[in-house]
Symmetry: C2
């Protein structure tokens, strides 16, 4: 049976459930990493693997979560699958999120430095 996005009180609307599952799709460190790459350019699984330094099954697994939630789409080119973000607005979403983190992280200097190092979508 189709796994429900979230078990939750039925007093809460379908729309909220839908929105929540979208955010849930982003709510994983590896998936964030993947998206930050894909927002810049289309990439194959291999490229993601080496860009992130992760094992292939882990990457495929998390790609599958993003695919299921319609955040990304993949097109097959022979034996290679190239993934891309489905909606350019996802880039904007990550930008706004980054701005929020920036305000929020005052204090933890390490993370702040890392955050600032991230170029603000130079390509695209």
């Amino acid at each position: 049976m189709m796994p429900r996005a979230t078990a939750c009180p039925d007093v809460v609307g379908d729309l909220q459930v839908f929105k929540a599952s979208f955010f849930k799709a982003l709510a994983h460190p590896v998936r964030i990493g993947i998206l930050e790459e894909l927002v810049r350019r289309e990439m194959s699984v291999q490229e993601l693997q080496s860009a992130l330094g992760l094992e292939q099954p882990l990457v495929s697994q998390q790609l599958s979560v993003l695919r299921t939630n319609n955040v990304i789409a993949g097109r097959k080119e022979g034996v290679i699958v190239r993934y891309r973000v489905r909606d350019r607005l996802v880039g904007d979403l990550l930008d706004v999120a980054r701005a929020i983190f920036n305000n929020q992280l005052t204090g933890t200097q390490d993370l702040l430095k890392q955050l600032r190092k991230q170029s603000r979508r130079p390509l695209s």
Copy 2:
């Protein structure tokens, strides 16, 4: 012991973990509902309760998650606690998300109608 935001491969950076836990904080239907209210105006727990039609402990519980993740803050006024969104950008984030949902939902007419009905931040 401080609960870790996410159990995850240590090959993934602290910053990604941090970002993921922010999105995780939004990744719940009730919490989305709460935020959509708070983005418009500061509200007490009671007001949220009746606006959303939820039990008090559930609301307090989810408020606590949002508080812990620094998404909202509450100030005490006597016996009443009024909550507000910590960063105005959260409103922008929800707006971008709404735009993405809007693009994504072509097909499921019911949800689409509901989504469009939501006024685009009339106050604030």
